[in-house]
Assembly symmetry: C3
Homo-oligomer: 208 residues x 3
């Protein structure tokens, strides 16, 4: 990965670790459980990505630095927990940051493994979303991706913008910043203004 | 894979996508959530299979066609949703079709990766069942494989029939059709007539 | 693996299979469901380990013997179920045995795949704990690793002792026995005496 992408990856890891640690404290896990939930949230998406691509060993088994970043995010979340009013919104903010950052990392890994455009988008979406899905499954909540606020749609849109910008080869910083900002902004707006797709009307005749 | 097996694989993908899409609509997911649940259901079994075999990258990362098949199944389920009375039975029917079709695909992948007979059966069972297990876990229901109607037993039986027929090298169409029909028929009969194994009597002395 | 480690691996498989089978009977699964839950519990940790390391195919696809060991553990649990009073304690005992045994196996697999010390500990912890986590998720209980009794801490401590003893190259039997005994003993003491870390105080201002 180039230098900029490494910073993006580290920042995403830090952000997801905080969202996981806050969730763990909210569920009254002990400090070690808080760290483990932060770890699962932060590395879950990239781990599934690496499991799906046969040639890749899970990245955090090769670079132990990720564990320190997660530890840093966990300690940060513990120290500043009292300043984080409106917990669910704070978790959502850090989750959105991680989502935007990791999606781009994932799409780029897809490109570097010679995957086709659809597969790059899919692997980007998985990298961006699966850590949060695992976090929610482990604490028995509905996975964030199935909640109303067009979570996956935004992720795929951001990934597609990245693919297109990268194709036309403009400045790499712009190529990476625009889709990241797009995902984070749209996600926050979607939650704030309750954007959602209409549900398909469906009358189950068994129960009516 | 030979041509016939590709058709079987496509039909299984379509059937599981419908079962996942119907489940998603039943759980009031938005259209994108319905598609994602259909996708997870349709590719989940083959994905775990490919993750377990070290040399294989997840098949749908290589062949983007699978996403279109899932999209087709999802649209089909949405369009014809009002004609599908008795939803749970309809889901079960499509689930059974996917089960029979994918089990054979999975056993064949095992054979082509030089796995032993036990491993071929196991990988066939995983390919056939795991998509439905994921579908159920994601919507918080008891995984279909742990429900009463001898689900896994039928799958393994069908896989074993395929292994034997393939060994004695009769016509490949017959070799594939017989176990598929066996699995689908037995599964439907098992649900319809409530076939089940007796539960082991077990008195927990803590609670009595 | 050397001969001694193979025995440790077999014993761990047997112990986890019993813990899974007892859990399955307690949840009123049919005999086949009991076997499948025993199988998932017994091979789950090693399977995730092998999925994370790109060069490894899941061990039980290569050695079908594991299925027989799981079958043996399941039959054992069924036959002696009435002698196992105080079920939760019995499940905990076999879970602890599997935990101690598998952690060492996992750390050793890490060493033999040239992973760094952190990664060896992580892969050992995953090998030791993930089967039990899957068992609990499948029957809808809080995963054992998130319960109070410092489960993961003990595992990591035992793995670290193994790494150190192995480094100083004393007798291999001692190198393996000491951390196994440490993990099992500490785990049982932790449950018996309710050892736990204090939970971090955290006032959610949204709900107060």
């Amino acid at each position: 990965m180039d230098q900029l992408l490494i910073y993006i990856d580290i920042t995403g890891t830090f952000a997801f670790a905080i969202s996981g640690a806050l969730t763990g404290m909210n569920k009254k896990l002990d400090p070690f459980g808080v760290f483990i939930l932060a770890f699962i949230t932060a590395v879950g998406g990239g781990t599934l990505r690496d499991a799906l691509i046969s040639s890749r060993t899970a990245f955090w088994l090769i670079d132990p630095e990720y564990a320190y970043i997660v530890l840093g995010g966990t300690v940060f979340a513990i120290l500043f927990r009292e300043r984080m009013n409106y917990l669910k919104k704070t978790i959502m903010l850090f989750d959105s940051a991680g989502l935007g950052l990791f999606t781009i990392v994932g799409v780029e890994v897809g490109i570097q493994n010679d995957l086709n455009a659809f597969a790059c988008l899919a692997i980007g979406t998985i990298t961006g979303t699966f850590g949060g899905v695992l976090r929610d499954i482990f604490v028995n909540e509905v996975p964030v991706i199935f909640r109303k606020e067009i979570y996956a749609t935004i992720t795929i849109l951001g990934g597609a913008i990245y693919l297109i910008l990268r194709q036309i080869q403009i400045n790499p910083i712009i190529t990476q910043i625009i889709p990241i900002i797009t995902i984070i902004t749209l996600r926050i707006f979607a939650v704030y203004y309750h954007w959602s797709f209409p549900v398909i009307k469906f009358i189950d005749k068994e129960n009516s």
